[in-house]
Amino acid sequence: MALDVGGKVVETDEEGYLSNRDEWSNEIAKAISVAEGIDMSDNHWEVVNFLREYYEEYQIAPAVRVLTKAIGKKLGKDKGNSKYLYELFPYGPAKQACKIAGLPKPTGCV
């Protein structure tokens, strides 16, 4: 599959995850979010950027349970719960936010 980002073609796998993580940019994130039907707010970006930092440090995309806990620790209890995260990313915070962040599918997601 491929994604058209302002005339530039970006390769993705069949589920829409970026083939090459290093190609990621804010524009690509935007394009993926549009395909996912998500209107990116500051709160969305906060989670996406958090995931990118987590990946940078640990080389994995965290499972949703781990993500929820880690977000709570970093951004506060009102954000570290699944209700908040599912409101931002209705099809699953780990899956959708990872996709927008240009990361591989989280380990443990089938």
Binding site: E57, Q59, V66, K69, A70
Partner: protein, 140 residues
């Protein structure tokens, strides 16, 4: 599954005995551990023989063109996997000590999130007792 059986927490021990690169065992084991962490079981990890190199500090995989997955071991604490046993004999035989291993820690939820060591150095007798107390042992 009966209601009774579904609530049973079993003791799982994952044994790692091979060098981190050169075979796929170390990475496969790590992925299985992370996936299985979702099932809320009582999980321990043991590292012995060349497996101790899996959690050694300062790995650099550039020259072999493989992804360095060492940083991922540091995420184990986030996954509530905080019982990591390392064989003293295996370390000694390789001229290694605890200082050569990564600083793997976890935050204890029941103790005001205090940071604690996940790594325990054990001798072969303690390792044998550990294995004896498990319900399931998976060896990689």
């Amino acid at each position: 599954m009966s209601e009774e059986a579904s609530g049973v927490v079993k003791k799982f021990l994952y044994i790692n005995r091979k060098a981190p690169y050169g075979t796929v065992y170390a990475l496969e084991s790590l992925e299985v551990v992370l996936i299985a962490a979702a099932f809320d079981q009582d999980v321990s990890l043991a590292f012995f023989d060349d497996g101790v190199y899996q959690i050694a500090k300062g790995m650099d995989t550039k020259a072999i063109g493989q992804k360095n997955f060492s940083p991922t071991y540091k995420a184990l604490g986030d996954y509530d996997i905080n019982k990591i046993y390392v064989s003293k004999e295996s370390l000694d035989a390789r001229g290694l000590s605890k200082d050569d291993l990564m600083d793997l820690k976890y935050e204890d939820e029941d103790d005001d999130w205090a940071e604690k060591d996940s790594i325990h150095i054990v001798n072969s007798e303690e390792l044998a007792d550990l294995m004896d107390s498990q319900d399931v042992i998976l060896s990689f």
